[in-house]
C-alpha cells in the first residue's frame, strides 16, 4: 500500500529563488527534506516554518545568515514542502512532529542551536527545545503560540476559522480547493502583488493535489479550544516549561498580523519569557517573512552577536 506521495518537482521560477541543495533524512519512518547551508563548522541556526508553508518562507533570510558564517538548517515539516506527505490524518500529531524534528536534530548532532520558529514551527520547535535544552542556545519566536487556551478569540469563531476546517468542509475547501495555500496566504501578507508575483507559486506548487494538502486542514484541528482537545496536555506542558526557560530569546512580530495579533501574543510570550528581547515589530501579517526578511535576518544576527559566549 502506498502511504505517501512522491517528492514534487520545483518549477523553474522557484528553483531560481531556492538554489539550495536538497538533503533528506528518515525520521520516524518518514522522508524529511532539509537544506544545510553555510560553514559546516559554523554555529547552527535552525529555521522552522508552519502551515501551509515550507523552507521557501526563509529563502531571503538564509543568504545573510550564511554570509555571516553560520550553518543554516531549514527542515520541511513532514507533510509540507519537499518532505513526504502522509495521506491519512492520523499520521499527524503534535508530539509526532516534535519527535520528527528531534530526530533530525539528533541525526545531525546539532548543539548550540539558535532556533527560529514561526506558526506551527513554534509548538514543534519549542517542544523540541524544551525537551532538549542542552542542544539549544537561543530562541527567536515569530507569530506563534505555546499555551493551551485558544490562541485568540478568532480561533473560537465559527466564521471564518472553525468553519474552514470543519468536518468535510476542511477536505473540500482546503483540500479540493487549496483555500489556505492559495487565497489564505495571499490575504495574510502585506504586499500582495509582490507575493503573487514572486512567491505564491512556490507554495502552491508544493501542494499540487488535494491529498497533498491534508496537513493544511489537519493542523488547525490541533489547536486546543478546550481542555478535552488532543493537544491540551502538550500545550499545558509547553507553557509550564516555557515559564521555567532561561534561554536567551527574541520576539519578532508582524505589525499588521491580524490573526496572531502582536499586542496579545507578543505580550503573552513576554509574560512567559520576561527576559526576552522585543517584541520587535516589523512590517507583516501572519507570514511576516514575506514582507520583512531583510529586517528579520538583521535582527537575528544582531541578537545572536550579543549572546554571552
Amino acid at each position: 500500500m502506498t502511504s505517501a506521495i512522491a517528492v514534487p518537482q520545483l518549477p523553474e521560477a522557484i528553483r531560481a529563488r531556492w538554489p539550495y541543495r536538497p538533503r533528506f533524512a528518515t525520521v520516524n519512518g518518514w522522508r524529511m527534506h532539509y537544506v544545510d547551508e553555510g560553514d559546516p563548522s559554523g554555529e547552527p541556526i535552525v529555521l522552522l516554518h508552519g502551515n501551509p508553508t515550507w523552507g521557501f518562507l526563509y529563502r531571503d533570510i538564509i543568504p545573510p545568515l550564511v554570509a555571516a558564517g553560520f550553518r543554516v538548517i531549514v527542515p520541511d515539516m513532514i507533510g509540507f514542502g519537499l518532505s513526504e506527505k502522509p495521506v491519512r490524518e492520523q499520521a499527524h500529531s503534535l508530539d509526532g512532529h516534535i519527535a520528527n524534528l528531534t530526530g533530525l536534530m539528533r541525526q545531525l548532532d546539532l548543539s548550540r542551536i539558535n532556533l527560529v520558529c514561526h506558526d506551527w514551527g513554534g509548538p514543534t520547535g519549542l517542544g523540541f527545545a524544551l525537551s532538549n535544552l542542552a542542544r539549544v542556545r537561543s530562541l527567536v519566536i515569530m507569530s506563534t503560540w505555546a499555551w493551551p487556551t485558544p490562541p485568540a478569540e478568532f480561533h473560537t469563531r465559527i466564521f471564518p476559522w472553525r468553519m474552514m476546517h470543519a468536518p468535510l468542509v476542511g477536505p473540500h475547501l482546503l483540500g479540493r480547493h487549496a483555500a489556505l495555500v492559495g487565497r489564505g496566504m495571499y490575504l495574510s501578507v502585506v504586499n500582495r502583488e509582490k507575493f503573487r508575483a514572486e512567491a505564491q507559486l512556490g507554495y502552491e506548487s508544493m501542494l499540487p493535489d488535494p491529498a497533498t494538502r491534508l496537513l493544511t486542514w489537519a493542523w488547525p484541528r490541533w489547536i486546543p479550544l478546550d481542555d478535552k482537545a488532543r493537544a491540551y496536555e502538550r500545550f499545558t506542558w509547553l507553557e509550564q516549561e516555557l515559564r521555567k526557560c532561561t534561554l536567551p530569546a527574541l520576539i519578532i512580530w508582524g505589525r499588521e498580523d491580524d490573526v496572531f495579533d502582536a499586542a496579545t501574543f507578543s505580550a503573552r510570550f513576554k509574560t512567559l519569557l520576561p527576559h526576552a528581547e522585543g517584541p520587535l515589530l516589523v512590517t507583516g501579517r501572519h507570514f511576516v517573512q514575506e514582507d520583512s526578511s531583510p529586517e528579520i535576518a538583521a535582527a537575528v544576527l544582531d541578537f545572536i552577536a550579543r549572546l554571552p559566549a
Binding site: P160, R162, A166, P167, H172, G182, R183
Partner: protein, 132 residues
C-alpha cells in the same frame, strides 16, 4: 432550506462510485457525527450499507461511513458520486453538488453552525459554488 433528499438504496446497475472526498475525523466537532448518525439511522444500519442523497437536479451521491476501533461510529466518511460507469465526472457540477451537500449538512447540524456561515466562508475564499 436545502432541496437535498436522503434516498433509499438506488439502482446501481451500470453505474460506478466515483471517489470525491474523504473525512478522517468526522467527530472533530462531535455534532457532525451525531447529525449523520441520526440522519442515516446508523445505530441500526451500521456498516451494512452506504447512505445515499439526491440533489435537486437528481444527481446521486453515496456516503460511505467509516468505523475505527476505539472511536465512536462513524469515525469518518467518504463521499462518492454515483455516475454512469464509463462517463467522466463533470467537475463543475460536482463542485456545485458538494457545496449543496455541505449546506445540507450545516443546516442539519444546526446550533451555531449554519449554511449561511458556510456560504460566507466560501465567498471569503472565492469558491465559485458559494458565489452562485
Amino acid at each position: 432550506m436545502s432541496a437535498l433528499r436522503i434516498l433509499p438504496s438506488p439502482p446501481l446497475a451500470g453505474t460506478r462510485m466515483a471517489y470525491l472526498l474523504a473525512e478522517d475525523r468526522l467527530g472533530h466537532y462531535p455534532e457532525f457525527r451525531e447529525f449523520f448518525r441520526a440522519a442515516f439511522d446508523l445505530d441500526r444500519i451500521g456498516l451494512s450499507a452506504p447512505g445515499y442523497v439526491a440533489t435537486e437536479a437528481g444527481a446521486i451521491y453515496a456516503l460511505v461511513f467509516i468505523g475505527r476501533s476505539g472511536e465512536a461510529f462513524p469515525a469518518g466518511l467518504e463521499i462518492y458520486a454515483v455516475v454512469p460507469a464509463l462517463e467522466p465526472l463533470d467537475d463543475t457540477m460536482v463542485d456545485r453538488d458538494l457545496w449543496q451537500i455541505l449546506r445540507w449538512m450545516m443546516d442539519g447540524v444546526g446550533g451555531e453552525w449554519s449554511a449561511a456561515k458556510l456560504d460566507a466562508t466560501g465567498r471569503l475564499y472565492k469558491l465559485a459554488a458559494a458565489e452562485q
